[in-house]
């Protein structure tokens, strides 16, 4: 009989995130190559992990056609040079794709079926624009199951502003500015780069090397943000400045059971405490992290007060604010996205979950005073996902000092 096991996050990496579209750095790079390079980079950093002992490769993508098709977890495993004996599969929960791949692999590890696994995600939104090739069932609208806004993410974000009038555009812009600034200082200190794998990119001017996220705007100002168009509503509140953009990128993480990590001498960056996914009205999908986090905390037997760092995906600033508001956390609370977030570095849908984990894991290493952290994100069609992690470097002494 298989035995229940601890689940640990050994390591995670990602490609630099690019700007989607013809002018973006990855326009001539295949989506599958992006995630393959992430997997290769991950395994190079963890040479102790025996490749032939990897039990599964789960790669998420929202659009699973073209260079994101062909059961991308399996095809990426082959392309990355993993032994053919290592299986793989594709997974999709839109923005929470990579988070779901980690969670589902974690379930398999926790239940003793797997000991080592690779999870991650990729989204090349240049090659696969949001909503391309979808054919929504007419019943959604005919039977008023969801509002028409539900499929336009910006419109769902406007609805958060509607529901919580005190979450103003000004607060959203201020939050967005903070994200840019925190990202800039994290870059300055070399904190983000440590988990990036460089990607050779083909351009009309020859080969280049992507080593940084492409869309950061450290020069952002409140005034600048205030003047941006509101593409989802006339005189609305959601702008390109207080939302994440359209991006290309990929992530990969190595997960293990506690005893496998011990056996192979793998460094443990985080221990999984709990995870949960939850549904909300698709028309206001951005509040999904609230019920998901409630649930994950309940399963973990923890309270928000126990959480030292929150890595919240910044699909939209207002969506982050709605979560913070729910828990009475200040907009500029230093526990929240200390190294900035998706508004600055970008959000290639299905890949982002592991980026949150990478950043949380790196902060855990620096912060023995923090015991628990959260990664959470909202998901299209009205969902939220949350994973709660424990810091293996935690020490009571450090916590007392802090």
């Amino acid at each position: 009989m298989a035995e229940r096991a601890d689940v640990v996050f050994v390591d995670g990496v990602r490609t630099p995130f690019g700007k989607a579209g013809e002018k973006g750095m990855y326009w001539n790079t295949r989506a599958d190559d992006l995630v393959v390079k992430a997997i290769v980079g991950l395994l190079e950093r963890n040479p102790n992990a025996p490749k032939d002992q990897i039990d599964d490769v789960a790669i998420a993508a929202t659009t699973q056609t073209g260079d994101q098709g062909l059961t991308i977890g399996r095809s990426a495993a082959i392309l990355a040079g993993l032994p053919k004996s290592v299986p793989g599969f594709a997974i999709d929960r839109m923005c929470a794709g990579a988070m779901t791949s980690v969670a589902m692999l974690a379930g398999s590890i926790g239940y003793g079926q797997y000991r080592l696994a690779i999870g991650g995600g990729v989204e090349h939104m240049g090659h696969h624009p949001m909503g391309s090739g979808v054919d929504p069932n007419p019943r959604f609208v005919a039977e008023k199951m969801v509002s028409e806004d539900a499929l336009v993410m910006g419109a769902t974000a406007e609805r958060i502003h509607d529901r919580f009038p005190h979450l103003t555009k000004e607060r959203a812009d201020r939050y967005a500015l903070g994200s840019q600034q925190r990202t800039a200082s994290a870059y300055e200190a070399g904190k983000i780069q440590q988990d990036l794998v460089p990607v050779a990119i083909r351009t009309t001017e020859g080969w280049g090397l992507a080593t940084r996220d492409e869309v950061m705007r450290p020069e952002t100002t409140l005034e600048g943000l205030a003047g941006l168009k509101t593409p989802f509503r006339p005189h609305g509140r959601v702008t390109a400045g207080n939302a994440s953009g359209l991006n290309d990128g990929a992530t990969a993480a190595l997960l293990a059971s506690g005893d496998a990590a011990k056996e192979y001498g793998l460094n443990v960056k985080m221990k999984l405490v709990s995870y949960a996914f939850a549904g909300v009205d698709p028309a206001i999908m951005g509040i999904g992290p609230v019920p998901a986090t409630e649930k994950a905390l309940r399963i973990a037997g923890l309270k928000m007060d126990d959480i030292g760092i929150l890595e919240v995906n910044e699909a939209f600033a207002v969506q982050v604010l709605s979560l913070l508001d729910h828990y009475g956390i200040d907009d500029d609370d230093p526990r929240v996205n200390p190294w900035g977030g998706a508004i600055a570095v970008g959000h290639p849908l299905a890949s982002s979950g592991v980026r949150l984990m990478n950043q949380l894991a790196s902060q855990f290493a620096e912060r023995p005073d923090v015991r628990y952290g959260i990664t959470t994100m909202c998901v299209g069609l009205g969902q939220g996902g949350t994973m709660i992690w424990e810091n293996p470097n935690y020490s009571r002494k450090a916590a007392k000092k802090a």
């Binding site: 460089p198 020859g206 080969w207």
Partner: protein, 712 residues
């Protein structure tokens, strides 16, 4: 020493006015510790089917790019330079599209000098230089990298080679000088001389690393990223590059000249002394032992200028284009869409030749192959040969066990011809006698569908006559292989006056699937290759019968530079076959082809050459010499050569007049692929033109203008 900066290359660049320019793009790559690598990408903007090539305009742009980088290096803006290619391709070497039109030796010299001028700049850019050999690298493509300080190679590299000697040149943009000083003289001999002469063999990434051409190899998946990181490590001193094959003092003092000497002897015995380029390469490699790079480059310049203005180079380029282009689009081939599917193959006969056919069809078409013969014993023997060969392939790891099972399950032997009913391609390889062949075809026609193609491997009979007794002669085609079947690349596809387009197309498509080059010939005696070899053997035997020694005959034909002398050719094909070939051609054209009673006597006697235990030829057999003794009118070597050249010119002219093939080019293609006639002869007709045989025989040349060198 040549000051390349003082040479004006604009005229040369102007001659290549429609060059597909391979551009040199530069992007800065950030490295650790604030360093910057300037990465040069060579890209002609086309996909991988049009590889990067290096013409004068490409080289001038590359040179200008490196000049700018040298300035930036001096200003401290960049700390390293690397050169790489577009996906799958670094560069396939010099742009040869115009080299056969260069007006004089001077312009050839300019090409050599421009290569040194441009490629040499990587070595003097002022910061460490790297070549990232990311894909196909041939000739000048390799030499780009040789001028760099360090090299990496992509593990999936399909091919790297210095094929110049194969084309009648030498690696004259630094290769002949730099390579031996990088990887040692013996390795350099392999790359520069040996491989080009082995059907232009190329090497793959592991060998590139092993020989020391590259310092390190990285897997394809992350090749460029890894190469950049490695360059960073080299710059920062984290990686120290070791070159175990780099020649030391001892090698220079002791090994170098000896290796050259051995190579020269081997060349002389293998290919004779007619081809110039291998010996020119040896001379350069020998001289590369000492002195400066610049002196080496100057020697390369002069040597390259000599060669590219000479006859052999022009003939070689002509031959190369035939093999590369014309062979792939055979003249007179009907639309491929007309070809009928071949889903089951029948082989009539189970002897050695038939079994070889069966094996080839089996491996290449991977369809059921059925063989038959007069009795079960012969059939079993044929099947056993085939399955044995499959096991050999399996044992060598050339095919997987699954593949071996698949192939074995596809082959079947029977004496029951009715099992041929669903074959759509039947090839016969029975005894070379008209009535027998007619009968087996007539018998099989009763069984197979009216559309099934009937192919004959006859070498001396009329294909049309073989099909004369058939109800559907339009599906009969000649399909003449050369032995050994697995190795020789040519098939003469013989079209009779009745052969229909669907049948001809099926034959051409099938030949291509067998990975053979097919040339369409008319149904005339000997088709192309045997008819011309019959001229050669006939003139040889005529001279012998008249009292000339075999030695003199062999020497007489040596200036052609053929792969073997007439005596060796007779020994290879067999004296009986030789006599038979002369007989059939004499019977067809009694006034032009010689038949030799002596050759029949020799065939009965059985031996011409005296060999030692290992099969090495020691001389002529004494008994054989007795048989041919008695002639009283010996010829000189010159007389024999002239007779041979004239005979070949006459026969070739007649074949073209009779439209045996579409053009002189097809004759040459046949002789190159079917008889191993050398590139430096251009097959046959360029040689006949340049030695004056065409002029002597029919007062003109085969080619206008003739394929030959330029005035110096």
């Amino acid at each position: 020493m040549t000051d390349y900066t003082k040479i004006d290359f604009t005229e040369l660049a102007g001659m290549f006015d429609d060059e597909v320019v391979t551009h040199s793009y530069v992007r800065d790559i950030p490295l650790s510790a604030g360093r910057t690598l300037a990465l040069v990408t060579l890209d002609n903007g086309r996909d991988h089917t049009r590889p990067n090539t290096l013409g004068p305009n490409t080289l001038l742009e590359y040179a200008a790019t490196l000049d700018r980088l040298a300035e930036r290096a001096a200003a401290g803006e960049i700390h390293a330079v690397a050169v790489t290619g577009k996906p799958f391709i670094l560069a396939a070497g010099a742009d040869l599209s115009k080299v056969s039109q260069l007006p004089n030796r001077e312009s050839g010299l300019r090409i050599a000098q421009l290569g040194h001028f441009a490629l040499g700049k990587l070595a003097t850019v002022g910061v460490p230089s790297f070549a990232f050999i990311n894909g196909l690298a041939l000739g000048g493509g390799v030499e780009i990298g040789l001028h760099a300080d360090y090299r990496t190679v992509d593990a999936s590299l399909p091919a790297l080679a210095l094929p110049e000697v194969f084309l009648g040149m030498i690696p004259g943009w630094g290769g002949a000088t730099l390579l031996p000083n990088l990887i040692g003289i013996e390795n350099a001999l392999k790359i520069v001389v040996e491989n080009p002469l082995k059907q232009n063999r190329t090497i793959k990434a592991p060998d590139v690393l092993e020989l020391g051409i590259a310092d390190v190899m990285f897997p394809s998946v992350n090749y460029l990223e890894d190469s950049i990181r490695w360059a960073d490590d080299v710059l920062s001193g984290r990686v120290k590059v070791k070159r175990p094959n780099e020649p030391g003092k001892v090698e220079r003092l002791v090994k170098w000249d000896a290796a050259i000497g051995i190579a020269k002897k081997m060349l002389q015995s293998r290919i004779g002394t007619v081809p110039k380029s291998p010996y020119a390469a040896l001379e350069l490699l020998k001289a590369a032992k000492s002195g400066t790079r610049e002196e080496g480059f100057a020697r390369e310049d002069e040597m390259l200028a000599d060669l590219v203005s000479g006859d052999q180079f022009h003939a070689s380029i002509y031959a190369f284009n035939l093999v590369q282009k014309r062979a792939k689009r055979p003249a007179g081939a009907p639309d491929k869409a007309l070809a009928k599917p071949v889903t089951k193959v029948g082989v009539l006969g189970a002897g050695y030749m038939a079994s070889q056919f069966a094996l080839l069809f089996l491996r290449r078409l991977q369809v059921p192959v059925i063989i038959t013969d007069l009795d079960q014993e012969r059939v079993d023997k044929g099947v056993a040969y085939i399955t044995g060969e499959i096991d050999t392939l399996l044992g060598k790891g050339r095919i997987s066990p699954d593949e071996a099972n698949r192939l074995k399950a596809l082959v079947h032997g029977t004496t029951d011809k009715s099992e041929f009913a669903d074959c759509d391609w039947v090839i016969e390889a029975v005894f070379e006698e008209l009535s027998i062949k007619q009968d087996v075809f007539a018998e099989i026609e009763k069984v197979v569908s009216p559309e099934a193609v009937l192919a004959t491997n006859t070498s001396s009979l009329s294909v049309e006559e073989i099909g004369a007794k058939l109800e559907h002669p339009e599906r009969v085609v000649g399909f003449h292989f050369f032995t050994p079947v697995a190795v020789m690349p040519l098939i003469e596809v013989v079209k009779t006056s009745k052969t229909d387009d669907a049948t001809l197309s099926t034959a051409m498509v099938t030949a291509a699937k067998l990975k053979k080059n097919a040339v369409i010939t008319a149904d005339t005696p000997g088709f192309v290759v045997n008819r011309l070899l019959a001229v050669l053997l006939g003139e040889a035997m005529r001279a012998v019968d008249e009292g000339t020694s075999f030695e003199t005959v062999d020497q007489a034909m040596a200036p052609l530079g053929l792969p073997m002398a007439p005596s060796a050719l007779l020994d290879l094909v067999g004296l009986k076959v030789g006599a038979h070939v002369l007989d059939t051609h004499h019977a067809a054209f009694p006034d032009r082809f010689y038949r030799s009673e002596n050759l029949h006597a020799l065939a009965d006697y059985g031996t011409l050459l005296e060999k030692d235990d290992k099969g090495k030829v020691k001389g002529f057999d004494k008994g054989a010499l007795k048989i041919v003794a008695g002639g009283t009118n010996p010829s000189t070597a010159e007389e024999i050569l002239t007779r041979l050249e004239d005979g070949l010119a006459r026969e070739t002219r007649l074949m073209l007049d009779d439209e045996v093939v579409a053009a002189a080019e097809d004759i040459d293609l046949c002789m190159i692929l079917g008889a191993g006639f050398p590139f430096q002869m251009g097959g046959l007709t360029p040689y006949l033109d340049r030695v004056g045989a065409s002029e002597r025989v029919f007062g003109d040349t085969f080619h206008h203008p003739p394929v030959k060198g330029v005035e110096s």
